[in-house]
Symmetry: C2
Amino acid sequence: MKIILDAMGGDNAPREIVRGALLAQKESEADTVLVGRGEDILHVLKEEGLDTLPRGMEIAHAEQVITMDDNPSNVIKEKPDSSIVVGLDLLNKGVGDAFVSAGNTGALLSGATLIVKRIKGVRRAALSPIIPTAKGGAMLIDCGANVECTPEYLLQFAFMGSLYASCVMGIDKPRVGLMNIGAEETKGDALRKETYKLLRQAHDDGRLLFVGNLEGRDIAFGLADVVVSDGFSGNIMLKTTEGMGLFFASLMKQMFTKNIIAKMGALFVRGGLRSLKKMLDYTEYGGSPFLGVGKPVIKTHGSSNANAIRSTIRQARDFAASQVIQEIANNMEHMRLPDQGGGTG
Amino acid sequence: MKIILDAMGGDNAPREIVRGALLAQKESEADTVLVGRGEDILHVLKEEGLDTLPRGMEIAHAEQVITMDDNPSNVIKEKPDSSIVVGLDLLNKGVGDAFVSAGNTGALLSGATLIVKRIKGVRRAALSPIIPTAKGGAMLIDCGANVECTPEYLLQFAFMGSLYASCVMGIDKPRVGLMNIGAEETKGDALRKETYKLLRQAHDDGRLLFVGNLEGRDIAFGLADVVVSDGFSGNIMLKTTEGMGLFFASLMKQMFTKNIIAKMGALFVRGGLRSLKKMLDYTEYGGSPFLGVGKPVIKTHGSSNANAIRSTIRQARDFAASQVIQEIANNMEHMRLPDQGGGTG
């Protein structure tokens, strides 16, 4: 298994990306191809005490770097020798099994769609992170790739999320919920009402385990394994969850460093604090698979450190080793609305 | 100042509503009119050791009760003698200065719109709770009254929220942010892009302090006093915030009750834990004003206890004592889009 890494993407590139690859290599999790400026990558390796590339690691040189300020809609054409474009090309050619980037999300999404292309029949690919819940985590699909959606897109997100949860995460019969503003099937806007019917039908046909509408509260308590949303409100939910996690962490820090007595208190719950911190740390949950694309592409958090990169490499390996992309293709006939059938996907 | 209370609304009615009114009465915060089944209300008073109504408290009998299962769209006509309808009628007639209910949100909203009516020119009234942030709290407008919105609605929400924040919450030049999925003005769907321009214009005209687009993360960190949203994603954000708060609270409880050592640890941070709990407890933030209606109407949480009711009575008193409704009317010419001007509001 070989994972292609965008060595130049994210706030801590190339240092943390290269270090993450080294961690994965040490634990024999996967071979890696580091895509980016060769000299910069070698410089980091030198800092880590390595004069040559370790076994199982390669460098693919890419001269250009896509920054957060680049406009996603034309950067793929404008920067053909960037680490994202070169990396996706390598993925497309079969040089590696999956591509991981912590860089510009928009550029990665448009690059993946243009270069690797969608699975035949998939209307829109979706960004689908795992968000922390009381039951360990749930996949939120979509969370920002598609701000305006149709019921058919959401039906496809439901299938893709459910297939990922079963094929990659090993969940038997994943519970699929529709993010909405009330539990009753009459709740929400036209998009939600129509999608509810489609998911209900897929449930009745035995193809999905649809648990109905879920509110933000229910999601935090882990009432579903897959949460279906349009990209706009999904992104609002994701960022709110992140923000609340950071806010809560800062409150805890304040509480436990207020005075010497509080600091002593922290010692009594050291183990608990550590696992709480882990639970709230989104880097622990790996990256966001970009589902619907013909090969595994994962976006990982821009602030990823080496540990987060290592987690995402492991996730990319599991994604690539699974049959999820084939399964999505196999289920295509159930993921299209009859009156819109045809070959536009 | 006299506040009309729906004594029959919410999970803990009439007991906690009546007890909340007693708390407010003891602290001379406001006189109250309890609307609902007289015998039930008197029964609670008896349980509290009172044989007669205390000074400053009245009962207005209403035989019917609207439940959470009632359909909001026709319950106002079907249950004319319900506590919500009778209470809103009393408000309309000037018997009290504000109406507070913990009951069926949809019924309260349609009742307020039908009976009390909107301020002339207001397109849609909005539900606007205060959500906890690192800076104390921010008003989120709308959070569920309007699932489908136009740029003009959002412009009006921005003005109404800003005027409430300055007139009622005493914030000088409230910072108004647009909830979106990225900071740049080109981010989001068509609704957000159009609204951004309108808010920018209002800012340039010196009528609003528009701080731009805000993501869920920014909101938790208190980068705005007023957050403008459509009702769908606003509701998702509100419920996610609530859910995460409850989730954290349960994690903390687990952590501090794990074993005897952890329990001792809790003693060291008792004060900090108390203020943390308070910060995450949405009942501390009072209810959600229903802005855009001609008189003060506040929805308070269905699970409100006596303390939450007391907070909301205080909030209703401040709302009624302020000039916010008059100020909204005064600013109407800046809250309408020129090409849609006219008298439909």
